[in-house]
């Protein structure tokens, strides 16, 4: 037990050391920046994530639920593993746009929307209040426990408000935040003194906590193995070593997710990680050093919790185990150290939080409102800095007051962890809009606003209002029975969803409407052009996206300088503009600021008062004219030039590929043609040699055997004549074929009675039919007049008739020729026989040159093998067609189809091919 006066003195002394450190760092900016400019300090300042929630609350949770406290630190570990993909993009985007808070970031991404910035600010402030209350409660309770009997129930706060340590902590820390968090207005909002103090606090709390851990392990027990063995022997502690049931699993995943979002979306984490970051490379080391810090501070949580369960009475306040253990062991110095560690944890969080929230309230809520409502009053002030600073300080006091009130009247009955998770759940509502805003160019302002609003509404109904009702400040009936007694609307079992802890339940519903809102609305509505430009700037930040200037803005340079000076201080503004003019190699005496200079001024202002306000302010001094059409075209050209170039390259390579393909195909075709030619020549060679050989050999027999008997002699003569005829026919047909193929054939188109053509052909072929005693029937009817070439058609019909005569069986053969008009524009000549027919697989092949079907060994070729090939070419020339089908008489049915009106002439090229 410690005297209250002594403990208060120690606390104040510690805070004074922090003041002094912050003051020294701020006083000597050069020294300071060297000390601050290290990844170690950056990492330690990030560790303000570990608040008194970690310091006291984790042990409290672990003493009841074992390892379940851990996901809150695993989420951030995973987030930092994604440092290069996610965090660095946020850093880069924020630096490029001089972002000073999460509200500014979202407002800027979604078309510099003041409304969205204000919405985010309101949600962030409301969400932070329980969290601030948690810190104050921890300080207040720890002070109370240390100065009173440890077995006293910690919930009973002192009735006398002036003796409440929480109040004095709040006052002192608000003072600290005012001094170092809003000492001056600077572009970029770096608060090096504050960062140094917070880093020191992180170090102190880690050391104090580790000291308790080691004391528990080696002071109270015989090493950690001993501790674990003793704990394992107690049956009631067994659940602390197990992972738990399905509901615990769900909580685990929920806490991991929510802490993943919180490490980025908590206003104070955004402040230390993004706004206070002076060098992007510090993030590299923090990617592993920060998780290492988290690991170190959590290492002793479970052992301390187990020791608390083993050594302290069952009804001891679990959130005070860290503090109570040294006290029970009468280790007063360690107990005081624990108090300082806990105070550090609280103080770090409170200072950064109030600073971040006050910046948000000033830049994204109050200033835009003032600019809209009282622009004249604002314009008349020469120096706006005092106004800005007062707004921030008032905001700090207001936020702290809210936190204190929440602690006093609401937070009493809840464990530390559940209060903290309440806040995590609130800030997680920013995460969908942030993530989609960074990676999905189509996410729109309205989508983000709807998502955040809906998610926040669900959070308020399912978590915040029940917690207030629980404290008796609202009628509690709706918690148990639902709003208007509708059981569907029970805040802890919305729409009948049960089986989830309140945090997981709330996160599920809020994220459902939030993510659904952002994506759904963004898909439904198209963003405005200015919004799209901002979106591209954020999403493509690593591709060197530059702010596209849709307007040509110019302004008198002195006006611009005065404007910036009113918010940043006149000497600073003067210097900033001078440096910029120098950098760009402009004439320092230039009186007119060009578009880029105006943009620079806007960014300077954005660093001090937020993006949305900066835009409104700059707009008040610039002369703005929309770019002319050709200028917009030029800008578009600039940006699309490279795209165009890429596109052309791609087209060219595609064309090359296509050409290559064509060449390959042509080559294949040529090879095929070459092969066909070789085949043709060898076939022709063979076809010509066969009759020649027989003529020669029979002639030789006749020459060498003059005394051959007359019958044989006549027979041989007959063979020679027949073979000569065949040779003649073959040569004639080959000539025909060559003529048609080379396109030399001329057609004489004239109206023609097709029936007479068929009759003439039948008469010419009559001898063949009579020889083989085959019947030839003509069924011509009234044949129409056809415009075509008589000789060519006759040749085709003659070919078909001679084929039919050859194929039909002698003596009982029967060939029918018929003519019919088809579709009014075609005439069809059909030649049917009752021979063996043509099998389907040969119906195309027979129209190729020298292709005859039948057994090549036994069947003597009846023809030259060229007739059908020639016929097909002729028909192509005349615009008709020739094919073969099954005849009803059992044999083959050859059909020729001709157009009634000639369209020939244009066909010659096809024929030549």
């Amino acid at each position: 037990m410690l005297g209250a006066g002594l403990l208060a003195a120690i606390a104040v002394f510690y805070l004074l050391i922090l003041f002094a450190l912050a003051y020294l760092v701020e006083r000597q900016p050069d020294h300071g920046s060297r000390a601050i400019n290290s990844s170690l300090v950056y990492t330690l300042s990030l560790a303000s994530y570990c608040t008194s929630w970690t310091f006291y609350g984790s042990v409290g949770l672990a003493s009841k639920a074992g390892i379940a406290f851990l996901p809150i630190y695993i989420g951030p570990t995973l987030a930092f593993t994604l440092g290069w993909l996610l965090l660095r993009k946020i850093l880069r985007v924020s630096k490029a746009n001089r972002i000073t808070s999460l509200a500014s970031l979202l407002a800027s991404r979604f078309g510099k929307s003041a409304g969205l910035g204000a919405l985010v600010t309101v949600v962030a402030v409301i969400g932070a209040v329980p969290y601030l209350a948690l810190q104050l409660k921890a300080v207040s309770a720890s002070f109370l426990i240390l100065t009173h009997d440890p077995n006293l129930a910690a919930e009973s706060l002192t009735a006398d408000i002036l003796k409440d340590a929480g109040l004095w902590t709040a006052v002192l820390l608000t003072l600290f935040a005012m001094l170092f968090g809003s000492r001056s207005i600077q572009p970029g909002e770096h608060h090096q003194g504050m960062v140094a103090a917070v880093a020191l606090e992180s170090l102190v709390k880690l050391l104090c906590f580790a000291a308790v851990g080691l004391f528990v392990g080696y002071g109270l027990f015989d090493g950690f193995g001993d501790l674990f063995r003793k704990a394992a022997a107690v049956p009631s502690l067994a659940p602390l070593f197990a992972a738990g049931d399905d509901s615990a699993d769900l909580n685990w995943v929920t806490y991991t997710l929510v802490s993943f979002a919180a490490i980025i979306c908590l206003p104070r984490q955004f402040q230390v990680m993004v706004v206070e970051n002076v060098d992007e490379r510090h993030l590299d080391r923090a990617m592993w050093l920060f998780p290492l810090y988290l690991l170190a501070i959590n290492l002793f949580v479970l052992p301390i919790a187990l020791a608390g369960r083993l050594l302290l009475p069952f009804d001891a306040n679990p959130d005070a185990i860290v503090l109570t253990l040294p006290m029970v062991a009468h280790h007063t110095v360690l107990a005081a150290a624990v108090f300082i560690g806990g105070l550090s944890a609280s103080a770090g969080m409170i200072i950064v939080s109030t600073t971040a929230l006050s910046t948000m309230v000033c830049n994204d809520l109050v200033m835009p409102t003032l600019l809209r409502l009282r622009p004249a009053a604002l314009a008349s002030r020469r120096d706006v800095i005092p106004l800005l600073l007062s707004i921030r300080r008032v905001a700090m006091v207001a936020v702290m007051a809210l936190g204190y009130l929440y602690m006093r009247y609401v937070g009493e009955g809840f464990p530390l962890v559940s209060i903290g998770l309440l806040s995590f759940d609130a800030v997680a509502q920013f995460f969908p809009a942030l993530l989609l805003g960074l990676f999905w160019p189509r996410a729109t302002r309205l989508g983000a606003a709807v998502g955040i609003c809906a998610g926040f509404a669900v959070w308020t109904y399912t978590l915040l209002l029940p917690s207030i009702a629980h404290a008796g400040l609202l009628p509690a009936r709706f918690v148990a029975y639902g709003l208007f007694d509708l059981s569907m609307l029970k805040p802890y079992a919305l729409f009948g969803l049960t089986g989830l802890m309140p945090i997981a339940h709330s996160l599920f519903w809020s994220m459902l409407v939030n993510i659904g809102g952002v994506i759904g609305v963004s898909l439904l509505l198209r963003p405005a052009p200015a919004e799209r430009a901002q979106a591209a700037l954020f999403v493509d930040v690593f591709r060197g996206a530059e702010a596209a200037q849709l307007w040509r803005r110019t302004a008198p340079l002195p006006d611009l300088r005065t404007l910036v000076g009113r918010f940043l201080g006149h000497p600073q503004a003067e210097a900033a503009f001078l440096t910029r003019t120098h950098q760009r190699g402009l004439d320092p005496s230039t009186a007119e600021a060009d578009a880029e200079m105006v943009l620079y001024a806007e960014q300077l202002l954005a660093g001090a008062i937020g993006t949305a306000s900066a835009q409104v302010l700059v707009q008040s001094v610039v002369k703005e004219e929309p770019l002319g059409l050709d200028e917009i075209m030029r800008i578009l050209d600039e940006t699309s030039r490279i795209m165009e170039y890429n596109r052309r390259l791609e087209e060219k390579s595609l064309a090359l590929e296509a050409a290559g393909e064509e060449l390959r195909r042509a080559n294949d075709q040529l090879k095929e043609l070459d092969r066909l030619k070789d085949d043709f020549i060898s076939t022709v060679n063979h076809e010509l040699r066969t009759p020649l050989t027989s003529i020669r050999s029979f002639s030789e027999i006749l020459r060498d055997n003059p005394d051959l008997d007359p019958v044989r002699r006549a027979e041989f003569y007959q063979i020679i004549v027949r073979e000569s005829e065949r040779l003649t026919r073959l040569i004639g047909q080959m000539l025909d074929l060559a003529k048609i193929q080379s396109g030399q054939i001329t057609t004489a188109i004239a109206p023609l009675d097709i029936a007479s053509v068929v009759r003439d052909a039948a008469a010419a072929a009559g001898q063949m039919f009579r020889e083989r005693r085959i019947a030839l029937d003509l069924a011509l009817g009234i044949a129409p007049l056809v415009e075509t070439d008589r000789d060519l058609v006759t040749q085709v019909v003659l070919n078909l008739l001679s084929n039919a005569a050859k194929c039909s069986p002698a003596d009982r053969g029967r060939v029918i020729v018929s003519v019919a008009t088809v579709d009014r524009s075609w005439v069809e000549i059909a030649v049917a026989d009752n021979g063996p027919g043509v099998a389907p697989e040969f119906r195309e092949i027979i129209f190729e040159r020298f292709r005859q079907i039948g057994d090549p060994l036994t069947d003597k070729p009846g023809g030259t093998g060229l007739g059908l090939a020639i016929s097909r070419m002729i028909m192509a020339r005349l615009g008709g067609a020739i094919w073969v089908e099954d005849a009803t008489t059992g044999g083959a049915l050859f059909k020729v189809k001709l157009p009634l009106r000639s369209a020939s002439g244009a066909r010659s090229d096809e024929l030549a091919a």
Partner: protein
Amino acid sequence: MTEEARQRDKLLGLFVFGVVAFNPPLLNLFSGATLFGWPLLYVYLFVVWALLIGAVALAVERRRRRNIGPPDD
């Protein structure tokens, strides 16, 4: 594939590893048991955590030593 992209993919892989290793159902495998008297779940979580941090540190610090910036995009 550039060196930068390789490093980035390595970190992405570590992230996925972390997501799997730190969550149910894999986590439940170690529930309840002890290792030399130490609760296995506790040992498992902290060992995997340390390994993950070590792997990230290796990937990041190698890049820092070579003085190349992290991958752009």
